[in-house]
Amino acid sequence: MTPLTHKVCMLGDFGVGKTSLVARYVRSTFSDKYLTTVGVKVDSKEVALPGRDPLKLVLWDIAGRSALDAPSTSYLRGASALLLVADGTRETSLNSALNLLMQSRSTLPDAVAVLAVNKLDLVERWEVAATTLSELRRSLPVFETSALSGAGVEEAFAEIARRLPG
């Protein structure tokens, strides 16, 4: 049986680790070399959740932006979910992620949204306060992730899958 397929867009400022999160989730790999994404790279992974039919997540790793421009908006069309990504060591990237979420709502009013605050392995250098995330959790699911160690990555994508229609 062909699994139900959903498009998931990775949104966030440049350098926050969107590509690395996808690499960790899909291929279990990590590279610490930063290579800017131009345009989009599409990957996919099937997710099996207990008590549900498998889902296929098609992951759109979109070039990093602090605000949505026309090309980025065009990439969002047809998406069922957004994984907003911020870098815990750069507080401005959290503002960017939230800004992107608000902007994307006009294109995708009903899309599932989950926030991944990445680079947990560098938590000693984080600028984002724990209390800020505690507050954000009231309005959307938040995961502290590390593409390097894998912490929180599986959980963040699983949360998206759980919230998508089966």
């Binding site: 397929t5 959903h6 498009k7 440049f14 350098g15 930063y34 290579l35 800017t36 994404t37 131009v38 345009g39 989009v40 790279k41 599409v42 996919s44 098609v58 070039a63 990093g64 090309p71 065009s74 990439y75 069309r77 047809g78 998406a79 069922s80 750069r90 401005t92 947990l120 392995d121 938590v123 000693e124 984080w126 724990a130 209390t131 995330l133 505690s134 959790r137 938040v142 502290e144 590390s146 160690s149 912490a151």
Partner: protein, 513 residues
């Protein structure tokens, strides 16, 4: 036709080369359901294999959620073989076509430019952050330097004073003692007197050495060297030292001992002696009539030290000053360096005791000290009673350390659970909300700091104590920033551990209310 047939043939050929060949145009035509009808161009150039069952799956994935009956344009798509292409979908009644145009050159160009800009921004961010930190460090160093210079000046003055005022006469005393003792004497009284002089001089020398340590910082001095103390011998020694001095001034000297506890008293004997000697020195110095009474009482695992005199007393306005170092003048006729009572206060604090002072000018002074046995400091009844039944979660991957922490906490009355990794500790702590969470920083996988941060980010408000072998300020600050309430370094200082645990649990209780 991609070009107009009316155009010159060479122009048509040129345009074909530009628009088709250079862009490596790949045209795939599909019937509904993604059934491939026709293909023009080289699919392998884009890493596609139309003949394979899932060879075009990545193309299909691109259009998930998009209507296939409308034209679509997706620029700069990185394909499975790493090449970038502009992908277009052209609707055609019941069919549709997918066009791929090579964008690798444009992508590479764009990437180089963006990479430079992004790296510059990231480096700029890191630079301004580092500059801010350096500035903070510089300011902090400046502050520390000023206070260190001040402290150092004080310490140097103290050492210079003590070196001269203590060592010089003591050297003379020891020298003459040696000369006198070499002359054999059959006079028992004289021999006893000489022994008493030597004993007192020796103790004075030891006291001078201890006073010199005053400037060596709190940390080393705060460590207790616990031994079983023979209170009777201690009483006899100090009586031997001070009774003759008091009696020479016409002052009665009495020393009593009540030993009501069957357990052996355990104290840092040097510190205990220093306390008693300093209090008695003070009493003898300022008492010219009446009596001086020393009373030691060992009961309920606490030692009460009472020194009462009928001396000149302390005026109420000076009561608060007598415990300050270099205080000369709090008591009329003061001749000492003004350190004795400040040392007593410090030693009592180090021994976790209490000190009370009552005095009336012209009537006398009464110092009342209570010291808990060292064993009671670690697991005293008051700690156990306040902490009994509390739940502690210990997270340490080193089984030996974890066991040590478990034993220590159980001695304090905790019910202890031990885990070896941070991830399960986060879940357990959120689930059970223990009264105390002790987390090793250097855990495999998710670090202790990351776990603490995650807990705080999930709204966990219970007390957290981080433990680490790293004693640097940076490591401590990082743990506290991550959300720990306290930071302890390994190897553990038992007293500090107990104090921090008590404080942490006390804070947690306060926060909960």
């Amino acid at each position: 036709m991609i070009v107009d047939a009316a155009w010159p043939v060479v122009v048509q050929a040129y345009l074909r080369a530009v628009l088709v060949d250079r862009t490596h145009l790949l045209l795939l035509s599909f019937a509904p359901g993604w059934h491939l009808l026709d293909l023009q161009g080289d699919p392998a150039f884009y890493g596609l294999a139309p003949e394979a069952p899932d060879g075009l799956r990545s193309l299909q994935d691109l259009f998930v959620g998009l209507p296939l009956d409308r034209d679509q344009d997706i620029p700069f798509v990185e394909l499975a073989n790493g090449r970038s292409a502009h992908v277009h979908l052209v609707a055609d009644r019941d069919a549709f076509h997918v066009l791929l145009l090579d964008a690798e050159e444009a992508r590479s160009h764009e990437r180089v430019q963006q990479q430079l800009v992004h790296e510059a921004i990231i480096a700029g961010h890191a630079k301004s952050k580092a500059i801010g930190q350096l500035k903070d460090i510089r300011d902090e160093l400046g502050r520390q330097r000023s206070s260190l210079e001040e402290a150092n000046a004080l310490k140097n003055a103290l050492i210079a004073t003590l070196s001269h005022e203590f060592r010089t006469p003591l050297t003379s005393i020891f020298g003459y003692l040696h000369l006198i003792e070499r002359r054999a004497t059959a006079d028992a009284t004289a021999a006893q007197a000489l022994q008493a002089v030597r004993r007192s001089a020796t103790y004075l020398f030891a006291l001078a050495e201890n006073l010199l340590e005053y400037g060596r910082g709190e940390s080393s001095g705060a460590l207790l060297n616990a031994v079983e103390v023979d209170l009777g011998a201690l009483l006899a020694d100090v009586e031997g030292m001070f009774a003759p001095l008091a009696e020479a001034k016409g002052v009665r000297f009495r020393a009593t001992l009540a030993h009501d506890d069957a357990t052996a008293p355990r104290f840092d004997e040097v510190k205990l002696r220093q306390i008693v000697v300093n209090l008695l020195s003070n009493a003898v110095r300022y008492t010219t009539r009446g009596e001086i009474v020393l009373a030691l009482a060992w009961r309920d695992r606490r030692l009460a030290v009472d020194v009462r005199d009928s001396g000149i007393g302390i005026a109420p306005e000076f009561i608060g000053q007598v415990f300050k170092p270099f205080n000369r003048g709090a008591q009329a006729g003061s001749k000492g360096a003004g350190l004795g009572l400040s040392i007593v206060r410090r030693l009592v604090d180090q021994m976790h005791g209490t000190l009370a002072l009552e005095s009336e000018p012209g009537q006398g002074t009464h110092f009342s000290i209570e010291l808990p046995s060292v064993a009671a400091i670690a697991a005293g009844p008051e700690h156990a009673s306040t902490l009994r039944g509390r739940r502690a979660l210990v997270v340490d991957d080193d089984a030996d350390v974890a066991q040590l922490l478990e034993v220590l906490l159980e001695d304090l009355g905790f019910e202890v659970r031990v885990l070896g990794d941070a991830a399960s500790a986060v879940a357990r702590a959120m689930d059970e909300s223990p009264d105390l969470l002790l987390v090793d920083v250097e855990l495999p996988g998710l670090s202790g700091n990351a776990a603490v941060y995650q807990l705080r980010a999930q709204g966990y408000r219970g007390p957290i104590v981080s433990l680490s072998a790293n004693a640097t300020t940076d490591a401590r600050d990082a743990s506290l920033r991550a959300g720990a309430n306290h930071y302890l370094t390994k190897p553990l200082n038992l007293e500090r551990f107990v104090a921090v645990v008590r404080r942490a649990v006390g804070e947690g209780a306060k926060e909960a209310t």
